[in-house]
């Protein structure tokens, strides 16, 4: 590869968010989500080709049940549950995949930082078990209805929630 000179060098870094054209499949999926969750007032959006539905946290089990049981969405595999700390709120991000329809979509629910509580979706996707325990471990979010929220990755008696942004970075506890 020839060494790029300073003048010609393209600058892919200094750019606006990448524009991914919304595919027909994604449009249809967004419409399906809108139909299935219509009375729960979802906020359907998208980012980089993913279809995202933001719902109220108290509706989560109902939303989960519907997207799993709906024959068109058939979101049977909870691919991942991630928590993101946006300083003013936590966001629980559920990535759902459908093995029958081969499509993926994202469910999001925001929760305040004071005493974060979320309903558990373990009754719908048993695979949420350890993801919720991990989120409780690292972020201190309590999942109501989870049978066993014992520490998973951290040891018993660890103080603080190391997943949060406010947790000091190079500060660690000795055993």
């Amino acid at each position: 590869m020839p060494a790029p000179t300073a003048g010609q060098r393209p600058r892919p870094h200094a750019q606006a968010p990448a524009e991914v054209p919304i595919s027909e499949k994604a449009k249809a999926l967004a419409q399906l989500l809108q139909q299935t969750l219509a009375d729960l007032g979802p906020d359907i959006g998208g980012s980089l080709g993913e279809v995202v539905a933001t719902v109220a946290p108290e509706h989560l089990p109902e939303v989960a049940r519907r997207v799993k049981e709906s024959p068109d969405l058939a979101g049977d595999l909870l691919w991942c549950l991630s928590l993101v700390d946006y300083q003013d709120r936590f966001e629980a991000v559920y990535h759902v995949y459908s093995t029958q329809k081969n499509h993926r979509f994202v469910l999001k629910a925001g929760v305040s930082q004071g005493e974060p509580h979320l309903p558990s979706v373990m009754s719908v996707w048993p695979g949420a078990d350890w993801y919720e325990r991990e989120a409780h471990d690292l972020f201190g979010v309590v999942f109501e209805g989870h049978p066993n929220l014992a520490p998973l990755l951290l040891y018993e008696g660890f103080e603080g929630y190391p997943g949060r942004r406010s947790y000091p970075f190079y500060d660690y506890q000795e055993w």
Binding site: P12, Q15, A18, S47, L77, W79, C80, W130, L153
Partner: protein, 381 residues
């Protein structure tokens, strides 16, 4: 009569059946058959397992948190250390996530190089599984056969990247350096060796009577339960669900290559083992085609050393030897990611252990754990 050797045998009383007591048995974390630092507590009734509680976290290094303090190019080394048996595949997923976010076009040659190394890594990983699974079943020879062939793959990795493990070879936008001059010759030789080696391994173990007795119909799981628990990769395909990211959501240049997706039908230990053996053959098929198509050209896209992707979030995933490995990346527009969440396949596989081990024999518990092929590095992160 005194002392410790005293045994009294009472008269046989058929009206009083034998009492059984549930017993708790701790296994690990330093047990050689747990494939890492993993502990499980078994509740057993005689030889039957009643319940099991897996304990993980002994290898928790806070990788996800560490990612928030490193610039993008430094994080690749952290991903090497997640699933330490298939390093190339992990690096790939992180690079793909950043490239998707920053809209970087990776040159074709780099894509082929990545694909070839990832498929080789899959074979190396499955050969390690083959060896240790044989060892779990009590056969000593498979591990020697597995390592003999894996060593050849590792030497090629060393020639390409300079390291046998923890390669740190992929870069955001391409790969670190071009392939060595004799790569094509070495690959041709290696493919022949591997083909012979895999066939030999297959003949040695697969249909052995003792091996079949230990693995057939042990630790069964049906497709519905497996999907509900989030199983992916060979463990899901063993139940008959043909979900493979390479086919379902093609990345790199997999859509140009021909390969089959081997599936099992019963979802027992033997199926999980045999799916992997067949997968090695498919990987060899892929490698042959990819080597034929390998184009010339640049290996790096023009990317800044200190990369600042735009604000946004992205998901990238790929078919690792263990399953669907993914990254959820949130960027706030600075040179460090805001949040990195890793979706390790082994994490879900260990979750399934509770279902797999119920009503198993204690002697089979090591086999079931071995057949899941977990790597604790990515479970604990």
């Amino acid at each position: 009569m005194s002392g410790i050797g005293e045994v009294t045998v009472g008269p046989f009383r058929p009206e009083r059946p034998l009492d059984t007591v549930e017993m708790m048995l701790n296994m690990g974390p330093q047990h050689p058959s747990t494939h890492g630092v993993f502990r499980m507590v078994l509740w057993i009734d005689g030889e039957r397992i009643v319940d099991v509680e897996p304990h993980i976290g002994y290898l928790h290094r806070g990788s996800e948190k560490l990612c928030e303090g490193e610039i993008y190019s430094e994080i690749i080394t952290l991903f090497d250390r997640l699933d330490y048996v298939s390093n190339f595949n992990n690096e790939l997923v992180f690079c793909m996530a950043v490239e998707k976010l920053a809209a970087i076009q990776v040159p074709e040659r780099a894509q082929y190089i990545r694909l070839i190394l990832c498929e080789l890594n899959r074979i190396a990983s499955h050969l390690l599984f083959y060896g240790t699974f044989g060892l779990d079943a009590g056969a000593m020879t498979p591990i020697l056969y597995g390592f003999r062939d894996r060593e050849k793959v590792q030497s090629l990795f060393e020639a390409v990247s300079g390291a046998r493990l923890m390669h740190n070879y992929f870069r955001i936008g391409g790969v670190k350096q071009d392939l060595p001059a004799d790569f094509r010759d070495r690959m041709t030789w290696l493919l022949g060796e591997l083909r012979r080696g895999v066939d030999e391994c297959d003949r040695l173990l697969t249909f052995g009577e003792v091996f079949l007795a230990r693995t057939r119909d042990v630790g069964n799981i049906d497709a519905q339960t497996a999907i509900g628990l989030g199983l992916t990769g060979p463990n899901l395909r063993a139940t008959g669900v043909p979900y493979d990211v390479r086919r379902a959501d093609p990345y790199l240049v997999y859509d140009r290559l021909e390969f089959d997706i081997p599936v099992g039908d019963r979802g027992d230990c033997w199926d999980r083992y045999y799916v992997r053996v067949q997968e090695m053959r498919q990987s060899l098929r892929i490698l042959e085609q990819a080597l034929g198509q390998l184009p010339e050209g640049p290996i790096m896209a023009p990317v800044r050393r200190i990369l600042r992707p735009p604000k946004g979030e992205v998901v990238a995933h790929a078919e690792n030897p263990r399953g669907d490995f993914g990254v959820y990346l949130v960027s706030d527009g600075t040179d460090k990611p805001y949040r990195v969440k890793v979706r390790p396949p082994s994490f879900c596989h260990l979750m399934a252990l509770k279902h797999l081990l119920r009503d198993c024999y204690v002697a089979d518990c090591v086999m079931v754990l071995g057949s899941l092929d977990v790597v604790l590095g990515e479970v604990d992160r």
